[in-house]
């Protein structure tokens, strides 16, 4: 939990069938399990899609960042469709573009290089998490 009492909700997309979807998810897990477990939370994107009350409360009361696996940007659009402004929107493909030597592979499960890229990306996003968590209003 941050000093303001607000968390940063990390929402990856639900893409099945794209490597960058798997990368988006793995990066989210790295952030919430290893890099900033106290400052972050997750919920399922499909819960927002069906307007689940608990999921809506979570995102309405906290900062939200999205990580999308393709330009269709389902995670970003799903949050904005609920009237909530996304604090930071990322595309997993940009993580690869910034680290061309770490090519992710694996649609169902990421390969070792992909997991390494996710770890590097999560470390780089930590700064943004810290900045958001320090803000009062989500």
């Amino acid at each position: 939990m941050s000093a303001t009492g607000k968390k940063v909700v990390v929402l990856p997309c639900s893409g099945i069938g794209k490597v960058y979807g798997a990368l988006a998810r793995e990066t989210a897990y790295e952030l919430t399990e290893r890099v900033r477990p106290e400052q972050t939370a997750m919920t399922c994107l499909p819960l927002l899609v069906i307007r689940d009350e608990q999921a809506l409360e979570l995102i309405n009361n906290n900062h939200v960042i999205t990580i999308d696996g393709c330009p269709k940007s389902c995670a970003f659009k799903s949050v904005e469709a609920l009237g909530k402004t996304v604090s930071k929107a990322y595309e997993a493909i940009h993580f690869h573009q910034a680290h061309k030597d770490l090519k992710p592979e694996g649609v169902a499960e990421l390969n070792e290089t992909g997991r390494k890229l996710a770890a590097v990306a999560a470390d780089e996003l930590a700064k943004d998490i810290d900045e958001l968590a320090a803000k009062e209003e989500p």
């Binding site: 639900s14 399922c44 899609v49 389902c74 659009k77």
Partner: protein, 138 residues
Amino acid sequence: MTGLEVMTKKVGIVSCSGEDLPGGTVSRLASRKVLDELKPGEAVTICLPLFVAGGEEERSFAKNFPTITVDGCEKRCAQKSTEALSGKPGKSLLIPEILNKRGLAAPTRRRNLGPEEREAVRAVAEEIAQAVEELTKR
């Protein structure tokens, strides 16, 4: 729309793919296993957020072909969304029910899957494959 259509008999799998719980991971991996190994060429996956957000290909497919929903938890996001947008699915599967029926332990990991999760993926994939077979025979 002009032009010719090449239609083959297929089933659409709508997986919850929930990112925040192990059941979502099992749902996603089981769906991929069916597509890639058990019933190649007989099914497609329908991306749930894209489906709800109005994805043209997703909605068009679900309108014309039978669907199987696979949910990782009792919230049944995939089933509810499909019912709301394209009518009753041909088959609705709930992972906790499948695992219970087979006497299998509930998965506890969202990633870095262990033997319980692998077994759960195998069992759920078998159920999905059976449902694909039933629906393609109709």
